[in-house]
Amino acid sequence: MPNLVLVKDDYFWLADMVTSQVIVLITLVLGLGIVGLILVKERYRPLLTFIIVLANALISSIPSFQALAGDSQSGVLSIGHFAGELSIRIDSLSAWFILIVNFTSITGVIYGSGYLKSYSHLKVNSELHWIFYSVFHASMIWVCMFEHGVGFLISWEIMSLSSLMLVIFDFQNKTTLKAGINYMVQMHLSVALLTLGFIWLNYKTGSFNFEALDHLPFDTSSVWVFIILLTGFAIKAGFIPFHTWLPHTHPAAPSHISGVMSGVIVKLGIYGIFRIIIHLQHDWLLFGQILLIFSLVTSIYGIANAAVKYDFKQMLAYCTIENIGIIGIGLGIGLIGVGNKNNMMAILGFSGALLHTLNHSLFKSLLFFCAGSVYQQTHTRNIEHLGGLIKKMPITAVMFLIGSMAIAGIPPFNGFVSEFIIYNGLFKGLLGTQGISQSILIILTITGLAIAGGLSLITFTKSFGIIFLGNSRKVLEHEPEETSFIMLLPQFLIVAAMFSVALAPAFFFDYAIKVVTGAFSLQISNLSGSVIPVIDNLTNIGMVALIFMGILISVYGVRWFFVRYRSRAFSETWGCGYGSPIKKAQYSGQSFTRSFGLLFSFLAKEKKCAEKIPKQSIYPVPYTFSTSYIDTVERYLVIPITKRLTFMLNYFQFIQNGQIQSYVVYGIFFIILIFLGTAFNLIH
């Protein structure tokens, strides 16, 4: 690392460890980049952002690879008297997430540079957008690096705010702004909980570091520290019932942002949860079971709602919730495995969760990029207006198909690998558990995962089939065409990464195991030998995926051999006797999931809006009827609570009266309060 050494000579206030140099270097690149972004011309900004993101990605990836290879690094960042010394580290767990963040952010910036061209007529400020994109990327790396709670919280807040600015790119649009405010409020709820958790931790142990969680005394209140921190992270990750920001924010944000947010920002919630449960010293079973139940509900609820949505970006957002649930299931069985002293179960659960995090970041960003391309070309997010796009945008269609099959966990794609590991962990757990309650919980989880798998089959056959197949259902303003190469390139990169996971799962699994054993070095021991059959098994999966592809190709070859000289006539689709099929009469997305929607109406309720037909009317008049599905948790749990809250908080509105004079008075009031506090020794 020649560049790092160079910096070390230049800056005397650097600590001697390399990790702190990484942070400083990232900040430096970011600062220079921001100045550059302000100075350069509009059309060079995407390129410059790409360079900044790439540079920061390189800087942070080098120590990450070292950490994954077994050389974890930690250090101290000293920022003078202001904040003292903040401890930082890149261990294998941070490294895993940093690499995911880097890959997705790079693909995001490439895609975004093409995607934002269609917004150029809006005269919005692209320089702010690109500045915040680079800040966003850097802050995510910081989040993974800070060990010290204060540094962590500051980067967490920077991450939330910069992503907020990215989400409200199209701020003239009212729904976008509303979604942005919703996002901001929920993210601050998360930050507030995290801050509370860290303060409590500091009060109990005298340290802000994550590691201090190890030294919490064994009592009820320390369990609450864990619960508060986990809840804070669960809001970010989007577990039920904290999921409500996802389906509003993702459709509002530009597609490259939704891709990156769904791909990584949600995963940092998972990172947080992982980071916390590492330090759990007791009650693994309790936490594992709670996490498992929540995740199970999350995954089924998420995918059931995804299945019925018409807005394809909202569908993808709900699908993210499902996948968070699957990751959570992995973490849950991992914890139960630790609690049961069942090493295999623990390893399979945690590493399955890690691999699914990686996989999901790949195919979800791919799907969001495809969705963005479709939106850019058609200007609609309603799948009922689309159809037949496979002929206009064949490459995007194939990419979406690959993403769909991967996310439904179908072999030979990568989604199957991580789901297989989690299933395997569940079955290992089933064989190893004692007691009936755990057996039932695990068999229910297996059932739930199977149902979620089946539901994602419904969701993605519907989405792909209605968006890309059949005939166009509505006349579009512009004839859609294939998107530019710059927007397809990141999709190719992602697909390549996906296939590398699918065909060489053992390689990635090996690293995931390293992360897990590094993180749980105390709890999981005596591993030597016991993981080798599992790694072999995963090598098998890769082989089997290859064999499956071989069979596919050879069956198709046989078919081609027989069919090549056969006559082939072209004609209309069979219309059951009717000669001229109507395009509007094609099967629609709503009708595709209607019987499913009736069956699962307790999760996603259908709401019908119909005008009343006046009784006296003689002549027929235009008449509208619309259906939509409402998210039951949001409608019956979250909205009533927030309504109550806003009603109560209305009484405090007089505080925010818009007069600067009174704000000055508030300031003076607090200064006096603090003065009195110190004077009477209430505040130290």
Binding site: S439, R566, S567, S595, F596
Partner: protein, 301 residues
């Protein structure tokens, strides 16, 4: 290897036996046992008509459907002789590989832009989602029962236990017969001989397929039946030597085919709206098996 050969042989006769049973039960003479296979051969020689609405999805879906079932067949053991592919947790792969073919068949139905075919596709997707838990609970129960984690190990260690394993095997074969009926869209759920598009599941999905592709789809259905028959027979073969296990395999397959014929002769198709309830019954029967296993293992404490 042996199981692959046996399943391939059985797939040639399977629907012939069903049709023969049905014709005998309804007092007709009926076609020969090989007739369905001859029909498929005839289809394989024909040209095809392709809808102008369709894309390449429509062209590759039947192939992918067959390939996925072949892949699944390769994983099925014959008693203690492993299938072509056998590894820890292969039954998970089995279920998901079948989903691959299903996924493509469903979207190929949507590819035609028809107002009917989507209906079948939607039903197929729904029913196969509902049937999934039953299969996983079933295999989970047997994994727990035998302490093993792959098809071959489960089947080969099934008979070390008590007499109750036969009872569980019986219940399991009931569930598997029903799963096979649902996956192949047969009688209680779907009537392949019906002539109204609105009431069909599988048949309406393939309205537009013709020629070679239709032949592929029909053959895949037969192969799928034989595959489930092989799974059922595995519950009873256990460690028997080949000279006993092969006749037993054939007997169970033929018995399975005759059962399907009998069910189709004496049962009416359910109302479409009641089908989900029926499919859920399978999940509850699988749960019954699971609790039976817990009982046998003495985990009810």
């Amino acid at each position: 290897m042996i199981s692959l050969l046996l399943i391939l042989v059985m797939s040639l006769f399977f629907s012939g036996i069903i049709i023969r049973t049905k014709s005998i039960l309804s007092g007709r003479k009926g076609p020969g046992i090989l007739q369905p296979m001859l029909d498929i051969l005839r289809l394989w020689k024909k040209g095809s008509v392709v809808s102008t609405t369709t894309s390449f999805i429509f062209q590759i879906a039947p192939t992918a459907y067959l390939a996925s079932v072949i892949m699944a067949v390769l994983m099925i053991p014959h008693g203690d002789k492993p299938g072509f592919i056998s590894f820890d947790g292969d039954f998970i792969m089995f279920a998901y590989v079948l989903a691959f073919g299903k996924f493509l068949m469903i979207i190929s139905a949507l590819d035609t832009g028809s107002s009917f075919e989507g209906m079948g596709a939607s039903r197929e997707a729904l029913f196969s989602m509902l049937v999934e838990p039953a299969f996983f609970i079933l295999l989970g129960s047997f994994a727990l029962f035998t302490g093993q984690n792959s098809f071959r190990d489960i089947f080969s260690s099934l008979h070390y236990g008590s007499q109750i394993s036969y009872l569980l095997g019986g219940l399991a074969s009931f569930v598997l017969v029903m799963i096979a009926m649902i996956e192949n869209s047969r009688m209680p759920l779907d009537d392949p001989k019906t002539h109204l598009e609105l009431t069909m599941v599988h048949e309406v999905m393939i309205l537009d397929n013709s020629g070679f592709d239709l032949g592929l789809i029909n053959y895949t259905t037969n192969l799928k039946f034989a595959m489930y028959g092989a799974l059922i027979s595995n519950f009873f073969i256990g460690l028997l030597p080949l000279e006993f296990s092969i006749p037993m395999f054939l007997a169970i397959q033929i018995g399975f085919a005759i059962t399907v014929g009998i069910i189709e002769s004496f049962m009416a198709r359910f109302r479409m709206g009641h089908n989900p309830q029926f499919v859920f019954i399978l999940t509850s029967v699988s749960l019954l098996i699971f609790f039976g296993v817990l009982l046998v293992l003495g985990k009810f404490v």
